[in-house]
Symmetry: C2
Subunit: 186 residues, 2 copies
């Protein structure tokens, strides 16, 4: 999956591992994370598979850089992946896992738990929205407005997801608070 993400970015233009790391943070990070170590490793795999080539470029006043370029075979692979129509809805949420087992802890502690989630979620949203149009930063990379459209769609997803998450947290919080009040008024 990460392989294809990197391949997709290289398809917009040749990049170094460092460029990819930054671009990743500004675009794909809405729905995927990757450490630099992983990006450099995957770049080696792309090279080994013949999906990309690299070229060392000397720079004055900066360390040398290794620029990766997608090959024809890499483009073929990117399109093979895009048209392969298996739909994967499965997800993994560490937070939900914890919530599932919250019954082990006290009601008060769990109200506190959701309060903290609420705070953290609002922070997460404001960080995500702080740079309102990162797409514009890459307008030179993505010239085709039709390509930017799909980027915007994934950002839209991110927004909807965060809103949903926040209202779920609020709902849970309210539910626990009502239970607490019932105990006191009985």
């Amino acid at each position: 999956m990460l392989k294809h993400g990197i391949l997709g970015l290289l398809n917009y233009g040749s990049m170094t591992g460092y460029d990819i790391t930054l671009t990743f943070k500004n675009s794909l990070s809405y729905f995927w994370t990757a450490q630099t170590s992983q990006i450099y490793r995957e770049l080696q795999t792309l090279k080994k598979n013949g999906w990309a080539t690299d070229e060392t470029v000397e720079q004055s006043g900066k360390p040398d850089k290794k620029v990766f370029t997608i090959t024809e075979s890499g483009r073929t692979e990117l399109n093979r992946w895009l048209t392969d129509d298996k739909t994967e809805f499965a997800m993994r949420s560490p937070l939900l896992m914890k919530t599932f087992f919250r019954g082990e802890r006290s009601l008060d502690e769990n109200i506190e738990y959701f309060n903290k989630l609420h705070e953290d979620c609002k922070n997460f949203i404001s960080v995500m929205q702080s740079s309102p149009s990162k797409i514009d930063l890459y307008s030179d990379v993505i010239k085709d407005p039709m390509k930017a459209l799909y980027w915007k769609m994934t950002m839209e997803y991110g927004l909807m997801y965060e809103q949903m998450y926040l209202s779920w947290i609020e709902k849970c919080k309210k539910e626990l608070e009502e239970i607490k009040n019932e105990y006191f008024t009985d």
Copy 2:
């Protein structure tokens, strides 16, 4: 993470690897997946860490089974994990990754892509909702209504997530269809 999920299930009562596999599918699968191979491997790790013990039980007409039981040290670990308050919102979505790069393909192909997603998503939802009260199946396992509450919360999350996903797909579909119509009426 999976370790702690298994530990949480064992905390409801002693189980075999097979029991855990089934219970997993009926409960944690809303937000986590695991292969049997992984479950058996993690059980060995729990044992190695002293978080669970196992006992072989003979059965008539069925193969022997290995029943795992949580230890005191396992309960301590479960609670350590539950009260450890790092919040992890990061997610990974293979589907979003593909959507991001859809600009490579034609408009018509992408309308088809979202049509298929729409179908698949509706199917996924109906499968998820087909067994409306799996919790009842486990009422003997989870006697405490306060514990079932958190289970219900994660199910509620699943529902909200799926609804959100569906409306995102519909929104994207509509957007592409409008673009297509504009091209034809120009």
